[in-house]
Amino acid sequence: MQTIYELPPNLEKEIIEYENLIHEYENEKIDKQKLRAHRVPMGVYEQRIDDTFMVRVRIPGGNITVSQFKELINIVKKYSDKDLHITTRQEIQLHNIKLEDTAKIMKELLKIGLSTRGGGGNTVRNIIGSHDSGISENEIFDITPYVVALTERMIQESDSWTLPRKFKIAFSNGPDDTGYATVNDLGFIAKINEKGEKGFAVYIAGGMGANSNVGIKIFDFVSDKEVYNIAKSAKNLFDKYGNRKNRHKARLRFVLYSLGREEFIKKFFEEYEKVKKQNFNELKLRDVQIQNKGFIEIPIFLGDLSFENAEKILSVAQRFGENSLRFTPRQNIIIKNIPEKDKENIKEELIKNGLIKNAYNIFLYNAVSCAGASTCRLGICLSKNLLKAIKDKFEQNSLLLNLDDLKINISGCPNSCGQHLLADIGFFGKAKKINGKYVPFYYIVAGAEVGEDKTKFAEKIGEIAALDIPDFLMDFLNISAKEKRPNEKWSEYYKRDGREKILNIIKKYSYMENFSKNKNYYFDWYDDKEFSILNKIEGECSAGLFDLIDYDFKLADQMISENKLSDAVIYISRALLITKGLEIKNDSDSPVLFKENFIGKHIDEKYANIIENFINKKRDFNVDEIKEFYNEVKKLYNQMDNSLRFPELKKDEKEVKIKGEEILFKDFRGVPCPLNFVKTKLVLETINIGEKLKILLDDGEPIENVPASLKGEGHKVLKQTKIENYWEVLIEKGV
């Protein structure tokens, strides 16, 4: 079968290992966490409904051969009843898969040259590229061969699977940066120098989400022969300096923030010099034969592709050879290699098939939305539903606008999964308290610009109730369709006139009385339950509720300073309840709920007194104890991980049993070097020679140093096992 990229030779072995782990899990030999640690880097995520899974397939630059796609559809049909999903990283996602089937799918994919390895977790993710690479009339050159060759190299290297966090690489075929090279961890923009040689401008440490950043340019031009060396160096740099302890601050851009620009660049070039000395082979570029530049982009609303439509597309594409398909970063499908003379006929055929329409608002199909609160465990608003509502609104009004290049992006929360920071006009969800109730609300962002030396994130310019957005957008786009000049870029129009217009229109939608008149404001789009932020939050991406938590801490702080200590206790205990999805009927319940859910579990028992004191209505608090309580809870909040989990209080009892033998156990995760060693040593002093101790250590420096130091003191390290991002070490006291 013709494939796009070569799979690493050990992949089959890894799949078998993964399959064995599933068996071990099913026979209760290993726990969920352990399996998860292997499952996610294999590209398998658990969905919101327990025991259903999503599998993400690596498709470099969105390129898949016709035969592969055909087989892929057959495979998916066997295991799932759900639509295929095209991601903004040009991958295909399969939904509603059973755990035991995930391994079967991997084996079948292996046969057709596809892999899910690195679909998730702290890995080199799918490498993306401009949607029109190789087919654009005005590109600098086709970057597809680089995307493919670099993918092949990266997925062969085992360190690509054990990075501090995910690592995203992108290629663009020209200065418009349609592949988003400027906002990936590492990005390459095609360039030709004055000597006519191929090369790239290179950006590093970009990314969206917490502390978004436009990448910094480390090369204005570098020969295309250096692509691998640069990628390898960036990966090494990340591997070495990335923050493995705090996943919220782990992406490469945080290395930049912590080292500072100058030092970061210096460190990069140190790695680069080292890599160059190793004389790696150049990338093996293969030319993808495309005779015709003609292509048709089929907009796939929200990237959700039914089997039926997939097969229709396939039947058209297979007429134009193996290399005629591509998924785009705007979640569409391109059929390429179409001879110019056939283009109109094919269009007709696609219209007949219902895949495209004669005249329609392509920008609505191009619009990107994250999964939103319906499936994302952290979403606040139902972003996908909003996009549907917008589309419905336009269709009901039969409003057709010629705004094909408009980019609308929606995120259900402040995270940038819907890429709202790159929007011409975009929205990101929040919850706003109006008349004592939460209303689904969005911030409006606009004016993003993307391009070499130009990339600028969209700015936040206002806020609006979810209910009003379709009307607002219709108002605005009606005006812009008239006023935006042909060939004028959206960013230019925005600066010239669009911004002013948006600000004016927002005013119309800010009448507060609406909220008491129209109860629909309190419902999110196409949702029959009143809007609540509490029933949605559990956590897979992050943020959104952070605002609410911060707000409670702010209130608590204020109450402490006003010496309203009883109120402070309420807010301190309320702040983190939201992370457990707890509904609070009235404020004075929160201390009780806090006690049940946090004290003794994540917070020291001693703070139970404060809660007792509150419940007994004695409430003779003293300010120092409340301050201490506040600091303790805030400290806990800072230790919260991406899945909204808190570190458990250390369990120091003799609780681990190995072959019936009780073994002292200590959790030294989160304890930095050399303190973890000191603590281990102190525990060892309390046991007899020959007795054992089991400890948990963080990955990186701790595991590299502590066992060696213990051996140096004469103890035996019997076993060390990696579990997810930490290690379990079994020690026998020697002296």
């Binding site: 050399p674 303190l675 060693f677 000191v678 603590k679 040593k681 102190l682 002093e685 140096g712 003191e713």
Partner: protein
């Protein structure tokens, strides 16, 4: 004494040493050390001992802080002028390590009070600046079988050794007080602060090692430093059979004070 989390952090860099560990730290907590003289030698010694977690530090000194002290007696600050040295030293020790128990004696050590003062301490640091006091400390410690660290400094020179019961003592080398003319006059008796700092630090180190029971102490070995040439050397010496206090036929059997030869310049 159980180490709490802060203790573990505070002392982590010494607990980390194989020779210290949690048990060693506990020994330090349980130790009582007397510093005689909160001056050039006592300052660094006191600060280091406090920092390392010696549980009880006694300080005996009858003087108040004088402007001329500040050049080398680093436990005292300008804001402490005219304050009793023991008070000033206690404040600094507590500031470094609030857990240290400080016992203050604002008095001069003499033949009458020495026995009762040193009785409860495990180790004594001689940080005095005159021969009668050094002989007094030596005699009392030998007779009461107390280990101590002797030291002397002058100009660029310093020397120190450690006595433990059974080991050689100060009188094994210097049986009697030097005659008056040999003692340097004040014009010759300058000192650079760091000289005191180094020797006082060696004394602190010896104390800690003694308490932990680790390493080689300066027993029967005199550590001699010339900071001008930057020479450090060790001179081995032996217990003297003829020693008037620890020899085979000791002549000194009770603690007695010797007269302090007075500086000619001071008298004028």
């Amino acid at each position: 004494m159980i180490l709490d989390d802060n203790d573990i952090l505070r002392y982590s860099r010494q607990i980390i040493l194989k020779e210290v560990g949690g048990k060693g730290q506990e020994k330090l907590f349980n130790a009582k050390v007397l510093i005689v003289g909160a001056g050039g030698l006592g300052s660094p010694a006191g600060l280091y001992l406090a920092a390392s977690g010696i549980g009880t530090v006694g300080i005996i000194d009858g003087d108040n802080v004088d402007l001329t002290n500040l050049q080398r007696q680093i436990i005292h600050f300008s804001s402490d002028l005219n304050k009793a040295k023991v008070e000033s030293a206690e404040e600094k020790i507590k500031a470094i390590n609030p857990k240290i128990n400080v016992i203050k004696y604002k008095e001069r050590l003499n033949a009458e009070n020495i026995a009762s003062t040193i009785k409860d301490f495990d180790f004594i640091i001689d940080g005095t600046d005159n021969f009668p006091a050094k002989f007094l400390i030596n005699d009392a410690c030998v007779l009461l079988k107390k280990p101590f660290s002797h030291a002397g400094i002058l100009r660029f020179d310093g020397q120190t050794f450690t006595h433990i019961p059974g080991g050689a003592c100060y009188r094994c080398i210097f049986p009697e007080l030097p005659p008056k003319g040999v003692i340097p006059s004040c014009s010759e008796a300058g000192i650079l602060g760091p000289v005191a700092g180094i020797i006082g630090s060696v004394q602190a180190l010896e104390t800690i090692k003694f308490i932990l029971g680790i390493g080689n102490l300066l027993i029967n070995r005199l550590f001699i430093m010339n900071a001008f040439e930057m020479n450090f050397r060790i001179v081995n010496f032996k217990k003297n059979k003829e020693c008037p206090i620890c020899g085979e036929n000791p002549s000194i059997k009770e603690i007695k004070e010797y007269e302090q030869p007075v500086c000619e310049l001071k008298r004028n």
